[in-house]
């Protein structure tokens, strides 16, 4: 490495390192900002980071290669990632992606030869109500159509800086269709905190316990118990973490809460800090929501001005608390709370061995509360109106309201807030769904609800949910829905444990085998066996739930599978024609003569 190269990278790295105090715990943010400056993580830049952070190269490369949005090799100056949730698929994202690729002369997953552009798929970017969507250099673009794709190609070819692209491309609207308490207007900053200060930390905790509030991230653990365990846990410091890594495909309610109700979310975090005695809070924002970063920081700054963050909050001596925002970089697994903490600490997002749990050994091994965005927002209402009032809303076991992200085949996709206990049928009616065949509640790891079950209700005692509600009408092929989800899990498995790392890929291969018409009834048994292994042996919830969409759709939509069974009795593991696909690729042929049998592969 010559001096010139060192200088090139040190020029942008020095201020970043300075801002993050030369601390390797901040590695994720350092890498993100480094990449925002240079486009990718250059080996010479890594040399410089090794020296300044005193960490081995293996650490930096290990972390960087874990996250989809970090690049250790040069990518295009414009890095385009098409969101690939099933809802984007249904809105025609694949055709648009192909259009862009052919328009720009670039192959999917590769960088154009002039280094100008790269195009690839990405897991759901949380724009299902206004898709198809993509990210360009990690900034969201919505409502894609042919015209917009063509225009984007032109902007890229002309090398127009992103800042000069038409603003409407980047417009993300809230699409709030039904409001209840959380989405109501009129929240005044500081009012919930004032109410809590009146009650004292014990009193506030008591209200949260009485409210019956359960975590809104999907698992539904009692918030009061979590706060109490953390408060009682000994440690040098306590931490509040807000999980805004909204990665479950089909979920986008946190996007809206953070866009228009961030003040309430931050106030909820501050309430928690008051109860558990934390001085520091962190909001883990998924990388796909990078566009929200500046406005969220502005809200934090405003709250500091109002003395709602900082020292002696609202004049309460010794009540010191502040919040920083940590961006993710494209890894669904970081929504799992212990993986999220690892990521906050600048590591690969691998779920930890539990116990111990974060409430006693979380961030930097200290007691930590990790709650969902919506959970924190709800605590503001509990502070102001009391736990008893809150417990009266919803059902006996599921108090309060739930914000649902509705997308797919319906007239009015968007955000709907309901008290718990609302039926699937009611929601379908409200969003203007017709001829509905199925609803996927809570994303791929959730449950596929068929028409016979539309009277079931949203509640932890019936259909528990993190907030996704994807509607499929009777024109949709439920096998393809499940296959999309299985690809998602295989892509997002962290790779730590054997059953999930290999099992999700085996499952993906089985589904692809059926898709290409080579399935047999034997494969149902194989799926069943894989499910058993993933359930009993996997390290975390990703593996435990990876088979859910397949098992559900086999049980409820079996004809969609059976129509693909060309072989009823045996299992062909080898497809001679498919074995020649590499030869075809190398010779650039795909004509009839380059295939062995009539059944052309459907790829």
């Amino acid at each position: 490495m010559n001096n010139k190269e060192v200088i090139t990278h040190s020029l942008y790295l020095d201020p970043i390192l300075e801002r993050y105090a030369y601390c390797a715990t901040n590695l994720m943010q350092i890498l993100r900002e480094a990449q925002e400056n240079f486009g990718w993580l250059h080996p010479d830049a890594i040399d410089y980071l090794i020296e300044k952070l005193s960490v081995p190269r293996t650490k930096i490369e290990g972390v960087a290669s874990f996250y989809s949005f970090f690049y250790l090799e040069p990518r295009g100056k414009y890095r385009v990632l098409f969101s690939d949730n099933i809802t984007d698929r249904m809105l025609g994202n694949k055709v648009l992606m192909e259009r862009m690729c052919s328009n720009l002369w670039v192959e999917l997953g590769k960088t154009s030869e002039d280094g100008l552009v790269s195009v690839d798929f990405s897991s759901c970017t949380g724009m299902c109500d206004q898709g198809p969507a993509l990210l360009v250099n990690n900034i969201a673009i919505t409502n894609l159509n042919e015209q917009r794709v063509d225009n984007i190609c032109e902007l890229i070819r002309e090398q127009v800086p992103l800042a000069e692209w038409p603003a409407e491309y980047f417009q993300v609207v809230d699409n709030i269709r039904r409001k209840d308490m959380l989405l109501s207007e009129g929240f005044v900053s500081g009012k919930a905190l004032e109410a809590a200060l009146q009650r004292g930390p014990q009193g506030m905790l008591a209200e949260v316990k009485v409210s019956g509030l359960r975590g809104r991230g999907g698992a539904g653990f009692s918030t009061g118990m979590k706060w109490e365990s953390c408060r009682n846990a000994p440690g040098e410091a306590h931490y509040v973490v807000c999980n805004a890594d909204e990665g479950e495909p089909g979920t986008f309610k946190d996007r809206v809460l953070l866009n228009s109700y961030a003040d309430k979310v931050f106030e909820g975090m501050t309430l928690c800090a008051y109860v558990i005695g934390a001085k520091k809070g962190m909001l883990y924002l998924r990388g796909e929501y990078r566009y929200l970063l500046d406005q969220l920081n502005a809200v934090l700054e405003q709250r500091r001005q109002q003395n709602l963050l900082g020292n002696n909050i609202l004049g309460q001596a010794g009540f010191d608390f502040d919040i920083e925002i940590h961006l993710g970089a494209g890894a669904y697994i970081c929504g799992e709370e212990s993986a999220l903490i690892e990521s906050l600490e600048g590591k690969r997002g691998t779920p930890r061995n539990r116990p111990p749990f974060p409430v006693t050994h979380g961030y930097l091994n200290q007691p930590t509360v990790v709650n969902n965005v919506e959970t924190f927002a709800a605590t503001c209402h509990i502070a102001q109106q009391g736990g008893g009032w809150y417990a009266g809303i919803g059902t006996a076991k599921s108090s309060g309201t739930k914000i649902m992200s509705i997308s797919g085949d319906c007239a009015r996709p968007g955000i709907y807030e309901y008290p718990f206990g609302v039926s699937v049928r009611q929601m379908l009616e409200d969003c203007g769904a017709a001829n509905t065949q199925a609803v996927q509640v809570s994303g791929p790891s959730g449950v596929t609800v068929s028409a016979a079950e539309f009277d079931r209700v949203l509640a932890f005692e019936d259909i528990g949910t993190a907030g996704a509600f994807m509607v499929f009408d009777d024109s949709r092929d439920m096998f393809e829905v499940a296959r999309n989800f299985v690809h998602f899990f295989a892509h997002e498995s962290c790779g730590f444990c054997t059953p999930c790392r290999v099992g999700t890929s085996l499952l993906r291969n089985l589904m692809d085998k059926m898709h290409y018409g080579h399935g047999s009834p034997y494969d149902f048994d194989e799926i069943e066996k894989l499910n058993q292994i993933l359930l009993s042996m996997s390290h975390c919830g990703l593996g435990h739930t990876a088979c859910n969409p397949v098992l559900d759709t086999i049980a409820k939509f079996r004809p969609a599978y059976e129509s693909r069974m060309l072989h009823q009795e045996f299992s062909p593991a080898f497809d001679l024609d498919w074995a020649l696909h590499e030869a075809r690729q190398m010779t650039g042929r795909d004509d009839i003569g380059a295939h062995l049998h009539i059944l052309k592969d459907k790829a």
């Binding site: 293996t58 054997t498 066996k529 292994i533 042996m537």
Partner: protein
């Protein structure tokens, strides 16, 4: 040591802080495992050591023993699932036992025999994993890596070098070494490192030492993995 739990009906004493597998191994009871090694921090990734504790399945290498626990390990269901995990490891990498220098000394192979694995069952992935022969004394054959991260832990936690690390995600997870070139020859790796002698399979191999012990007289030709005690670290490479 007055505290005990039961493992398949046998009473196992344990000291506070011991994991189930540690106590079991001390008591001479075998629970199949690949990523666990008594000398290193528990990891919990291979999941072969999964047992049933009071009816719930959990990895015995990360679960601390507790008074009165009822642990089941040698059940038909668990061994069937362990066999499937072993098969997954075989198809994930490229394992050609007949031509492998570690055949007979390989813990993956020995575990597969122990679990009566008769075939790989799943379709092979056939990943492309080039060798690294850049180091003067050692060779890395990544084809056999099972991502147990024993070399990672040995190098980082004991040798203090961080020569090895896991990179990538999911099925693309792979072992990397600590050099800008990505080559072992450009690291400070040495034959004296603990990491040089800890690989349970055939990734980290000394050069110029092929088939020194004939097939048929190797570690697991003479004993089952259930009776095996790893002494390579204290004695150097066997």
């Amino acid at each position: 040591m007055s505290k005990t739990f039961t493992l398949d009906g046998k009473t196992i004493p344990f000291a506070d802080g011991q994991t189930i597998i540690q106590a079991a191994m001390d008591a001479g009871s075998y629970i199949p495992h690949l990523c666990h090694h008594p000398e290193f921090k528990p990891h919990g990734s291979c999941k072969l050591c999964t047992v049933t504790v009071n009816g719930r399945q959990t990895a015995s290498c990360t679960m601390q023993a507790a008074e009165g626990m009822v642990v089941e390990s040698e059940t038909e269901e668990l061994n069937a699932e362990r066999r499937a995990l072993t098969q997954m490891l075989f198809v994930e990498g490229n394992h050609f036992c007949p031509s492998c220098e570690k055949s007979g000394d390989c813990q993956l192979q020995a575990t597969a025999y122990h679990l009566d694995m008769m075939s790989p069952h799943y379709d092979h992935f056939f990943p492309n994993r080039p060798l690294d022969a850049s180091h003067p004394d050692y060779l890395l054959d990544f084809n056999r890596c099972i991502l147990c991260s024993l070399c990672v832990r040995a190098s980082r936690d004991v040798d203090g070098k961080s020569v090895f690390a896991l990179a990538g995600r999911g099925i693309k997870s792979h072992l990397i070494v600590n050099a800008k070139s990505g080559k072992l020859g450009d690291t400070d790796f040495s034959a004296m490192d603990k990491a040089a002698n800890v690989c349970p399979v055939g990734v980290i191999l000394p050069k110029r030492r092929g088939f020194a012990v004939p097939i048929g007289e190797r570690t697991f030709d003479k004993q089952s993995i259930a009776e095996y005690v790893d002494t390579r670290l204290t004695q150097g490479e066997d």
